[in-house]
Symmetry: C2
Subunit: 300 residues, 2 copies
């Protein structure tokens, strides 16, 4: 049970964490704080937070847990602002999609208090933003990756894990470096590719005609291009090295497929398509087999 | 009302056309013919077709309408095989995703009988294949593009249009060239990009780890990489020139975004992301506004 939780950034991610904790009866009081007064006011109206604060001094008094759920570039400034008011018993965690930069910003900002910061990343979301998109069940059966620091006490890591488990999530552990390499490939690159395609189509002189005939394949391929540009600008820059490496590998793949196409090499193209179809099918089957099993849960 | 319809290729596309016509009470008898005896047998079992034929001579006797629903590279061979048995009163249409190559194959195969071939492309589908995936409602509210030939009589084009309308589809008209340019951009390129990404990820030494953390964004982005490799090999080759042009434009776009990323130019990246998000949102709003309106239907 948590007496007081502070959510910095009450949008989809922060709001869903608050609602998940409330639904589980895991928290007595949730305080919201953020850059956008209309978002915090809306979160209060929706019952996502119990009160809204405009000063870390008030918000942090007696807090058990603070979740940072703002675009990752704000991690350093937020931690610097809350440090003077950070009590010894308060744990801070985050929901950022990149971890090396977050860890580095936390070390710079918190210095010898960095042991109070447990970095995390819930693998859940949607292309919708803001408190109205928040859902108590958003993290149900979803992974949360914690990239704990050697300075963290095992007990603090466990308290953060327990809060996420109360929201229905399954805890995984990776190093910040492994985390960032993995998500560059399976999340950050696809976002960049989807934005690139929509911008490319929209810039053509006959864009209206093209959009008129775009159908469900295009819609699903580009769904993630509906995501927050600011958030994804920050993620792209924060995970720049790993994302560049993945983008270069993908450009090499496309260049090789371009050569197959130019040479009308149908069997080479079909081999790539077949391999992709098979790999994707195996992945989907593994997901379905996994979700048919009861999920390991430990809501203590 | 059609007395006899022949479906060449009783998979998702051909099977759904048969079921749509049957549901509308638009057809007395549907005959299935195809390369895969297990697929035609299954279509018969499912009531998609009323009988199965193994010879065009039998199948085409007294047929009003023939739909080719096989991978596009088979258009020429199929038309050549059915030509000796094609009666004067029979109209042939197709459901191929490319049109210039189909028209050219039809001209070569049918010669002075090409006026009996009305090229078409239903903009509907799914990554599932085969007769089990067929649905009577697949074409409900979906577009069917007809790229009629100057040799076609208006009456024949109208008969094909009426059959698709009976399945709930909305008829659009484009030239084969415009059709192929449009679908290279909004369908063929995204398929190639999705196959490329999954193959790229699957080829990495830590592919298992990557797939473990791939989530709903990756799933939707790559949904179309679950499509038939043979069908998409044929489409890629058939629409090679337009697809190469779109791929080159996309490679130029990615190369420019790579430079922004390498230079850590956050505002340039954010401008691309913002433009894409805005264009996609406008497109989705236009779709939603369109589907809220009653669809023009004319099932005569």
């Amino acid at each position: 049970m948590l007496d007081k939780v502070v959510i910095v950034g009450v949008g989809l991610i922060g709001g869903s964490f608050a609602l998940g904790l409330k639904r589980a009866g895991m928290v007595r009081e949730v305080v919201g704080i953020g850059r956008h007064p209309e978002a915090t006011a809306r979160a209060l109206e929706l019952g996502i937070v119990d009160s809204v604060s405009t000063a870390y001094e008030d918000a942090l008094r007696g807090a058990d847990l603070v979740l940072l759920a703002a675009p990752v570039a704000q991690t350093g400034p937020i931690l610097a602002a809350l440090l003077p008011h950070l009590e010894e018993g308060t744990i801070v965690t985050d929901a950022g999609s990149t971890k090396c930069d977050v860890v580095s910003a936390a070390r710079d900002a918190l210095k010898d208090r960095v042991h109070q910061f447990v970095p995390g990343h819930p693998i859940a979301g949607s292309e919708s933003n803001g408190p109205d998109a928040a859902l108590a069940g958003l993290y149900e059966g979803k992974k949360v990756v914690l990239t704990a620091l050697h300075e963290n006490s095992q007990q603090d890591v466990e308290r953060v894990a327990a809060a996420w488990r109360a929201c229905g999530a399954i805890i995984h552990t990776l190093s910040p470096e492994d985390h960032d390499r993995v998500f560059a490939a399976v999340s950050h690159l696809p976002h960049l590719l989807a934005y690139a395609l929509v911008d490319d189509v929209a810039a053509k002189p006959h864009a209206d005609l093209l959009f008129q005939y775009a159908a469900s394949g295009f819609r699903d391929f580009t769904r993630i291009a509906g995501s927050s540009p600011e958030m994804w600008r920050d993620i792209s820059l924060a995970n720049r090295a790993a994302l560049l490496a993945e983008l270069d590998a993908y450009l090499a793949q496309l260049t090789s497929m371009r050569a197959m196409l130019a040479a009308a090499d149908g069997s080479a193209l079909e081999a790539v398509y077949t391999n992709a179809q098979r790999a994707r099918r195996a992945w989907i089957e593994a997901i379905e087999a996994g979700s048919a099993r009861p999920q390991p849960q430990d809501n203590t």
